[in-house]
């Protein structure tokens, strides 16, 4: 097979409709906008549909833990919300979430942020466009709408009680992504927002 520029050509494989189509091997991450730190998902794409996926964390034994303590855990949830909104292409609310995150990280007490943050979460929940965009997209056993709802809940819980919500694990990602289109896959990863830090501690 030809190797233009030293790159392998796309190979062939059966697609979901039983046709034989090109398969392209692509690594999503570690450098992508609004992408979890250190995450790499190696996918096999047909068109923009993910056929196979393998997720891993880079340098899992090197990094320290940044999102620690109630204040920073709350900030982390706002960071995750900002990334979810960024991937959904809603720049203004994403910028607002980042601003609230920065206020928390700069040491402002959660009481001063919680009102604006829950207003933001309410606005996202109320948006009919958001509902239209996440409706009816399966993700493994669950679906994207449920994952997004979880992410919004996590913001409210972390800000009101300081408790750390349970996060999905990187190992679970692959099962959620197979069969999704690229845009949906980005939303799924952002909505799951897998744990990228405690895994490092455990292995380090």
């Amino acid at each position: 097979m030809g190797m233009p520029g030293g790159l392998p050509m796309a190979d062939l494989g059966p697609d979901r409709d039983g046709l034989t189509l090109d398969r392209l091997h692509v690594a999503l991450g570690p450098v992508l906008p609004d992408w979890p730190a250190g995450l790499v998902v190696r996918v096999v794409l047909q068109g923009d549909v993910i056929q196979e996926a393998r997720a891993e964390l880079l340098d899992r034994d090197r990094a320290g833990v940044f999102w620690d303590g109630p204040q920073r855990r709350a900030a982390r949830e706002l960071d995750a919300l900002a990334r979810l909104l960024g991937v959904a292409g809603w720049a203004d609310p994403a910028a607002r979430a980042r601003r609230l995150r920065d206020e928390l990280l700069a040491g402002s007490p959660p009481e001063r942020v919680v009102g604006r943050a829950s207003g933001l979460v309410r606005r996202v929940r109320r948006s009919r466009t958001v509902r239209l965009l996440v409706r009816g997209i399966p993700a493994g056993e669950t679906n994207l709408a449920a994952l997004v709802e979880q992410r919004l809940d996590a913001v409210e819980v972390a800000l009101s009680s300081g408790a750390a919500p349970v996060r999905g694990q990187v190992a679970e990602l692959a099962g959620l992504l197979v069969g999704a289109e690229l845009a949906a896959a980005r939303l799924i990863v952002a909505a799951v927002d897998p744990e990228t830090e405690s895994a490092r501690v455990r292995h380090g």
Binding site: P4, L7, A88, D92, T129, L133
Partner: protein, 313 residues
């Protein structure tokens, strides 16, 4: 009505287009700065396009392995050229630079070039995310182009002419937005979609790291992004002669009315982007075909009956 603006207007047109584009980018930058809580103000916003242009002018061009450089660069250059040629039929006050008797068709032909341009840029850089972005725009075209064509042809039908100045003259008593509101709304939506402006920015969106433009840097990005902004301005400005009575209006001179109306349409579209997240085509195409196309056809039918009632054609 074969007269047109004097010859110097040909030279002035690109300047004018760049100035309006500059103001539009600055307005958008000001809204972005406000949302992010950063430094805002007229001066800071006006400086953004200048600074960004300077940065891109001195920036390195990124090279990708086995890229189709010619295809990608031609694609990028098509955008500003198409924007400029499309703007040639826009009346500044009463007259455009080129008062073609097929002005509406000319405008449509120029903006359809964007379809090819974005795909060429996306394909040209030989990068998976850019390719995804390029094909997203092809799919987007399938959703917006037909309702768009029905919308602009409805305006031409109302005036019984494809000449843009005739369409403006036909609105002396009543703006077309009043008798064809569906066509006007569809035109605004498709103007956003054809210039991959939010909420139809999936071809260059953040989730694919800039999509078709993912691998562009330096002068290539300047030409692509600048051309896209200019096309956006031209598409928004065309709504004025088609639906908003062109330069018609009390007290003020025609050119000022055109400026005011164009600014209003641009502000509306810039504002709209901030209200909704990106509409993916796997969600929008169904709406476009099931709702928008029948709605625009029904609109055209109503206008046709009105024209026949008036004893036209």
């Amino acid at each position: 009505m074969a007269d047109a603006l004097p010859l110097w207007s040909v030279v002035l047109l690109p300047v004018l287009l760049v100035v309006v584009t500059w103001a539009t980018v600055a307005f958008d930058a000001a809204l972005t700065a406000r949302a992010a809580g950063g430094p805002s103000g007229v001066g800071a916003a006006l400086a953004v396009p200048v600074r960004e242009t300077a940065r891109l002018l001195v920036g390195q061009r990124r090279r990708t392995v086995a890229a189709d450089v010619v295809l990608g660069r031609v694609g990028g250059a098509v955008l500003p050229v198409a924007a400029l040629l499309a703007a040639a039929v826009l009346p500044w006050g009463r007259l455009p630079v080129a008062d073609l008797d097929v002005g509406v068709v000319w405008f449509n032909a120029m903006e359809v070039l964007a379809w090819a341009a974005v795909w060429m840029v996306g394909w040209g850089s030989n990068s998976a995310l850019a390719l995804v972005g390029g094909y997203r725009f092809v799919a987007q075209g399938l959703a917006y182009e037909l309702p768009h064509m029905f919308a602009i042809i409805t305006a031409a039908l109302g005036a019984e002419s494809l000449r843009v100045t005739d369409i403006v003259d036909a609105q002396q008593d009543l703006w077309f937005v009043v008798i064809m509101p569906v066509a006007f709304v569809v035109y605004l939506l498709s103007a956003a979609a054809m210039t991959f402006w939010g909420p139809f920015d999936a071809p260059v969106s953040r989730d694919v790291a800039g999509g078709a433009a993912a691998e562009l840097s330096g002068i290539d990005r300047l030409v692509f992004a600048g051309g896209r902004w200019m096309l956006f301005v031209a598409a928004a400005a065309m709504a004025v002669p088609l639906f908003l009575g062109g330069g018609g209006g009390p007290w003020l001179p025609a050119w000022l009315w055109v400026a005011v109306k164009t600014a209003a349409v641009l502000a509306l579209l810039v504002w709209l982007r901030r209200k909704v997240p990106t509409l993916r085509m796997d969600r929008w195409t169904e709406f476009a075909w099931v709702v928008l196309i029948p709605a625009t056809i029904a609109q055209a039918l109503v206008v046709a009956i009105v024209v026949l009632q008036r004893g036209g054609m």
